[in-house]
Each structure stands twice: as structure tokens, then as C-alpha cells.
Chain length 582, copies 2
Amino acid sequence: MITRLSTLFLRTLRENPADAEVPSHQLLVRAGYVRRVAPGIYSWLPLGLRVLRNVEAVVREEMDAIGGQEILFPALLPREPYEATGRWTEYGDNVFRLKDRRKADYLLGPTHEELFTLTVKGELSSYKDYPVILYQIQTKYRDEDRPRAGILRGREFLMKDSYSFDLSDEDFAVSYRRHREAYVRIFDRLGLRYAIVSAMSGAMGGSASEEFLAESESGEDTFVRCPASGYAANVEAVTTPAPPEQPVEGKAAAAVHHTPDTPTIESLVSFLNAAHLGRTFTEADTLKNVMVKTRAPATEEWELLGVGVPGDRDVDLKRLEAALHPAEVALLDEPDFAAHPFLVKGYIGPGSLATNGVRYLVDPRIVRGTAWVTGADRDDHHVVDLVCGRDFTPDGTVEAAEVREGDESPDGGGALVAARGIEIAHIFQLGRKFTDAFAVDALGADSKPIRITMGSYGIGVSRLVAAIAEQSHDDLGLVWPRVVAPADVHVVVAGKHATVADAAERLATELDDAGVRVMLDDRGATPGVKFADAELIGAPTILVVGRGLADGVVEVKDRATGERTEVAVDDSVAHLAELCGK
Amino acid sequence: MITRLSTLFLRTLRENPADAEVPSHQLLVRAGYVRRVAPGIYSWLPLGLRVLRNVEAVVREEMDAIGGQEILFPALLPREPYEATGRWTEYGDNVFRLKDRRKADYLLGPTHEELFTLTVKGELSSYKDYPVILYQIQTKYRDEDRPRAGILRGREFLMKDSYSFDLSDEDFAVSYRRHREAYVRIFDRLGLRYAIVSAMSGAMGGSASEEFLAESESGEDTFVRCPASGYAANVEAVTTPAPPEQPVEGKAAAAVHHTPDTPTIESLVSFLNAAHLGRTFTEADTLKNVMVKTRAPATEEWELLGVGVPGDRDVDLKRLEAALHPAEVALLDEPDFAAHPFLVKGYIGPGSLATNGVRYLVDPRIVRGTAWVTGADRDDHHVVDLVCGRDFTPDGTVEAAEVREGDESPDGGGALVAARGIEIAHIFQLGRKFTDAFAVDALGADSKPIRITMGSYGIGVSRLVAAIAEQSHDDLGLVWPRVVAPADVHVVVAGKHATVADAAERLATELDDAGVRVMLDDRGATPGVKFADAELIGAPTILVVGRGLADGVVEVKDRATGERTEVAVDDSVAHLAELCGK
């Protein structure tokens, strides 16, 4: 069916909407693909819905190809299963909750682990029923604190979520690899530039996980990679190589110094280097102790925690939160300091933390035998040569220090560089978290129960539309890869003579008959308006039917490269059909 | 792709689920199509999702064919637009409401009139942009008081809703007719037996409306039709032909009689016929006055209303509610009677209603000149020969009396018969209710604004799956029409020899290559189990590959008729492909 712009429900805008900051948001609104209904909640207009369905089709094909079976869960879910796994509480404000007319509690599903797990428990019983991969492409809800960038981070969005159910870790590894390969095929087909990075699993639980990040300055995820070794990881997942331990014997004794007016690392280092101590100090020689408080999910009580990092690095709160998940983390406020007078702001050292029973976790660089300048727990005093393992003993290590470009890659392959990306997919080993919660076993060949192992695999389908737009646009508008484009060929009728309109109409019909998806600009607008809209809408090929007709030619323009080719009218349908793979 | 039962995520049940009363609910659960998650909330398992998508495809094709443009609105909607039209309040308990983390009010969309209207207002401006038909196939939510019968009346369900936007009532009539014709094509293609009935429009507002009711004993809608004339109407929409008026002159004077112990119509008629009044009375000669109270939406105050109907008929509260919509209606309770002592229970007449300023509406049969026996507003007293238009004057008529089989059809075509049906679609003239609420105008050719006229057209897509199952099943299981069936051919491997399995495998592959949708029962189960599942699942054609192989034949069984045909193995693929329209 030919899409005629004269009747298409479409209004393009010349100006960017006031609330749109990133290119995909600006262009998807300007080109009439989506419209805002409420914060983070959007409508899909005809062109947008086509792109969304095209993306969905690619995802579905590749999921079916690895034996995934599609099902569909409701979005409105009862509280009980989420209560059973603790996630009713754990999700906090991020989930939409409601009551029905009988005052029963419901939520709008943010993810469906509970439902998938319970459904498998209900339907399958024997080891012969496994392995199984189930998936759905379904609307999900998260009450984001800061919905942003249009459909890039919405509160109602479309996801493909799948789960693998296996009898063993070995079988799970196969399911995981299949998903990973399917995802590579999906994103390759969608023409995306992306990195697969090691990642923490966040609120999902589980142990191993990888994220697919579409490279984009508009992305919210910072990741690092090592160009030399190919290592890539979400910043939260970067591990810090620990230096070798050193003997404590023979180290200089710790000595407390009066260091007036040195509340900052910088002022401390200046002071020390002016104090003629016989050596030069850098910020990396100091041990900065940052105080936070943590509390376990669904508990009231906060617990103090000291975090020690080399003084030349800040604590990255997102990394700390990821490391301490699912506990909640907050910086101490003034009342907290007032309640704990042993915490001397600016001069906190391991000493008083140990004396007062405060848990103390340190950066992996702080190993046995290393000597540090740190707070002496008295105003204006620091201690020099405080040796780890001799003068203080941390309760463990924590990945809390910021990761910087130039840091050594954890695989020893060279220096890390930083990049930004949009999380488009996440695959990870769920393990037995949910099958334990619901006691999901298969009866084995030996009649013994086998606890099922799960993997979880998500793709942000609606977000992909934005991610593709982020990577594929120019100053004039969107530039869709053919596989997701709302049309293959955008025919511009550039001329007022009936012969022009007739020729365009005939070519459009022949293209349509050949299986090419055609958009025909048959409006009464000027050629200028039509060209601008064609560039903005972003079909991969633009066919201009205009003055060249007199010479028996039409113009074929490649939207991505801008390349223009004159083609004989009589050859144009065959030429375009071939271009579109028909 | 061949669907193999050895790996299909499917467990069939031999017993009906305890909570399932109607056949579609029983069979869709037993055959593994749907599973209950919460009251009125269901999951779609692989076979169910296929049927749902097949139904959806038929609806989409026919909507596209009449020029409908598909869009997609969110399900999570802000309060404001619904506040603007009064429906935030009007929906009462039937809508799911919730608050986001910022305490803003949202609802889960029960219908999307507001969004469609606002979207058209936002995108279109000129008369040249019209007419337009927009539709979506989208998940909707209603907090039903009594969700029932599985997916037949759920709280989360899939609907196709479309709206037409026209410049005039004449243009609207065209849009309405196109939709009606498209709906006829849809339901014909789905193989449904249905009636198109006149209907009240319920909470939608508007004036003209028709419902498509799939004939089924499990249906909640009672409708009547006149076999002679073809008239059909929802009971709420049946109008009562008024008899001719009569002259009041010459009628006997009204006379009050002492009628002890006659609080019921039956006792009254017996008493009168024993009282030697010179004629015989029937219940149809009496005028029964039923007292209700009504109140307008979003108001506190109740108003008394007297409803007069011939004594041989009950008041049908659903008809009365439909007639008085959007006002709320309730029967009077004891405190109401106590507060209005002029209402003498069992003996209420038009007299004291008029004296006390109570609104009084009567059945259309009560016309000027008719004489009635009715209450005299005193205990144990009735008045005989109270003549309408002489002794009392109602404030108007109301369609409140029950409709009965045998009643005369409103079109005068003969007697009505009653039937039950499932509402599968509803089309109606919305008029300017929503375009007035949001001031939606098109700029006319004469630069004057034209207020847009809307039509509203809904199809219950998920309900259709149940409606088809209700009409198409037998004692053994489901019997799907091919267009929606989860597979064309269900291949039963009936034999343990490798030659049988090999032959079935080869035929399944060839059928799949021919474009036939194949389900292959390659499980290790007994033939008995496999046959039972094939009947239960309900693919239209069953291919049995078994002992006949030795003679070079396979058996083709028609699921609907039960007819079995032996076909030569070598001819079977061609035979089946033709059967499946490939």
C-alpha cells in the first residue's frame, strides 16, 4: 500500500521542541514519529509505530531463530509474587503501585522474572521439558525519577525480555551464548555501533552480566574500554588490579604530625612538602576516608561505613552503590556527624573507626605493607607512614574509587579510554535466585529434583528506536537504516504539471507492486517543503520526479550519503527494487 | 517453522479448572492457551498468543483497507484530559487510578477518546486534512466489579479502537458505513455468527449506536430480534410502540375503592374481579408505580422519581439506567420512605407524586385517554378508571418496562424473540461531545472554523478469541477456523517405528516448505494421548501418520466435521496445501 503524504496523519515541525535536548528526541518529535503525553510517556504516530514494529520484527525473528517461544504476560500484576521475592519493597519508588476496587495491591510490571518463573513452575515438571527459552515483547513501566530524552528513558516503554531455564550451569552457558549471538545479529542487522561490556547486574540479582551499549554522546552509561586488548566494561563493573603486598617489616614507624589548616588533600600535600620530611608527597600517597551510611532493603536502621581510597581519587557514588547493592547508600549529613563526635571532619583516620567499631572498606590498591598519610582523628593532625596490615586492618575491599581514562585495564592489556553509551540490552546469569524463591525443580532421570538455573535477557525495543536515531541522523533529519525505515523510497513530486504527478503516481504504483515500501509526497506543497520533509523523515532513498522527466530521467538520492544519480524513467523501478533488495 | 510438541511450551489438562464455567474459559485453559494471573488478568501462552495475533491481523488488514491509520497511545495516562471531559469522576470504580512518585494522578486507560481527540487537535488544522480515521490495537484496563469467564470479561484486555473525524454529519455517515462494512468483513472472515443490534451508547455519550453481538449462551448481553423483519436490538435499546391516544370524553369517572390486603398486583386483580364491578380486570389494566432516586454525575443530592409501568410488567433496572444515563439510579430504601411519608408503600398513585412535586415518568403505553387501576395513596385503597390526560399528567415517558419475547417489534414487523450474545464490537456516533470539550475545529475553505464530528468504533480483540472459542468447539475441544488457528495441520505421529517418525518428519518439512503452518506431535506419548491433545488444541486439520504407511496412505481428519479421508502419502502434501489455501 502506498503511503500518501496528502492523507498521512503527519505534521512535521520546523523547530525543535522546547523540552528536547538530544538529537533523537528532537528529530523524532519534529518528524512526527512520537508525541509527548506526560513525562516519560509518549504516543507513537503512524511513522513512529512503523519503525517500532520493524525493530520488533527483527528482534522477534532472531529470538525465534534460537528457539525462543513467545508468550505474553499482563502488565498489571498482583503484589504477591513480588512480595515473595522481596522486590515489592526493593523497587522503592521506581515501581508504579495501585489498588483495585477491592483494595488489593497491584503493580505495573517493571520486569517479569516472577511471572516467568511461576509459569515455568506451573507448566513444566520433567527434566525432559528442559531447556526452554521463553520471551515476550511487552509494555513495561518504571516510575523513573528523571525520565529524559523522549523515548530514550521513558516511564512506559516496550521491552523484549526473555529467560532461559536450564538443568545445569553448563546448559545455561549454552543458552547464554545463544542469546549473546542472537543479540549480536539483532544489533548488526539494525546497523548499530555498540560495545558489549561487563556490567553489574543492578536490582536483578545474579552474578555474571554483560550490557550492550550503543555508542552515543546522549547515552547515560559511561563505560571504559581498552583499545589494545578489547576489554570493555561498564564503569560500575571495572575492577581495580591490586598491587603486590609488601613486607611490613622495616617500614618507618607511623608518626602523628600537627598539620594546621589542612582539611583538603591538596592543602595537606602542600603542607607536607613544605615540612622538610625528607621526601616528596603526592595526593596518591594519602588515604582519604569518606564516611557514608548504608541500610539493607526494607530496614529502618542506618549503619556507618568508612570508605578509604587513595587521595588522588574521588569516591564514585554510583560505583559504591553498585558494589554495596542491594543496600541503600547515603553520605553523612551534619546531624550524623553531630551524633558521632569521634568523626573529626577532615581528619578521619582508620584509628577511630576501628576503636568505635565502624566497618571500614578500602580500595584494592590499599594492600598489606603500603604506607599512607591519613587523618589522625584530631583537628589539624595527620598521621604519616600508617602501614596497612601493621597499623590498621580494613574489613575488606570495595570498588568505590573513580575510574579514569589512562587507568590500567583489569586484563593488563593497556590503558583504558572512556566512552558514553545507551544501554540497549542486558544479558545475565540469574542463577537460582528466582527458582529458589519459588522452589522450581525438574524431576531428574534418577527421580531426584534438579533446581533450575535461569538466565535473563532484555532488549529495550522502544529505546532502540531512539538509539538508532541517535546514531543515524544529520543536520537535516533522520537517516534510517532500510530494515527499520518507515518506507524504502520517498517519492517527491517536484512539479505542478499533471504529467509529473501522473509519472510519479505510476512509478509509485509499480514500486509498490514490486514489494517496495513507498511513501508518495502528493501534497500541494512547494518542492522546497517536500525536500525538507523527505530529509527530515529519513527514508533511505529519495526519488525525485520533476523537471528531468522532459529528458526521460528521474533523480535517485541516497539519504545517508547525499549522493544523487540520474536514472532513466524506464529503468528506475528495476533500479530501485534492486536497491531495496526486492 | 515447524512447531514441535516435544519442545512446545505447553501442558494440556484433562480436567476443567475449578473456576471456569463457560466452555471457552474451560477449553482455553485446558488446551494451554491462557493462564490466570489474577482475577480478570491472564497470560497468553504460545498457542494462545498465536490465535490472538491472528485475530489482530484480520482486524488490522480490514482497518487498513478502509484507510485507517494505526497509531499507539500509552496505557498509563494523566488525569487532566479525563478531568476535562468529566470522565475521571464518571468512571467511578471502573477505572484503575494511581499516583506517580510526585503524587500526580494517573489512570490506566479504559478508552482513549480524550487522547485521540487531543492528538487530532494537535496535528491537524485545515479542512483539507479531513476526513481521517485513526486506530490502535492496544491494551486496555477496566476494574470490572465481576471479571468473569476468563478472557471474555477481563480487567486487562486487548482492544482495537478507532475514531473517525469528519467535517460534517454527511461525511461522518460515510465513515460510519465504512466501519460497519469493515466490521462485517472482519467477523465474516473470523467465521462468527453474530447480530448487529441497535444499542444505547452507555458511558460513551453520543446518539446513534450499534453493537455486534456474537450469538452465545455464555454472553452477558440479552438482545431481541424480530425474525420476520430482521430487526435486532439490545434490550436497553428496544423502544415501545405507543398505542393511539383516545378521547377522554365519555370515560367513566375515577373511583376510589377500599381494597384491603392488596399490596401486590396479583392480589389486587383477584380482589377487583371478586368485587362485581361489571368487568374483568387483568394485570395489564393496572398501573404500577415504582419509586427510585436518581442523581447526576458528580453530585451529592438524590432526587425522587416515580416510574409508572403497566402492572403486568416489571421495571427492568438496566433499561431504566440506560434511559436515564448518565444519572445514577437506585431503588428507595426504608429511610427514604420514612423521610417521605406521602409515599404509601403498595398504594402509591400519580396523585400524591404530583401534589408533592415528584417527577413522574411512564411507559409509552400509558397514553392520553387510557384508564388505569392504580394506588390511591392510602393504605388498602386503589383508584379505578384513573384516566391519563384527565386525572393525571405524567412528566414524560421512559423506557423502563421489561421487554418480553412475543412483544411486538418496534418496526411493526412481528413478534420479538430473545437471544444472548457476547458484545464483540460497538460502533457509534460520538458527535461533538469530545471535540466540544477540547474545542477541535478545522479551518474551513471560507476561513471559518468547522467543529469536527467524531465516530467511535471498538472491537474487543482478546474477547474475540473467547467468542470464537464459544461458537467453535465440541466435547473434545476447540475447533478453530483456519484463519485464526495456531496451526493449519496437526501431524500426529502414531507409531513407534522409526519409519513412521521419519515419514511424519518428511511430510511436516514438505508442508512447512509449502507455506502450511505445521504442528508436529513428535513426543514419546501414546497415540491416545496425542489424538486427545490434537482434538483439544483444535487445529482445523489433523494428519495421522501411522499404520496406513505400510499401504502407502495417511489419514486426513477434518477437526470440525470429524470426517476422515485416506490419502496416498505421495499426494498428501499437495492435498493438504490445497486444503489450506496454499
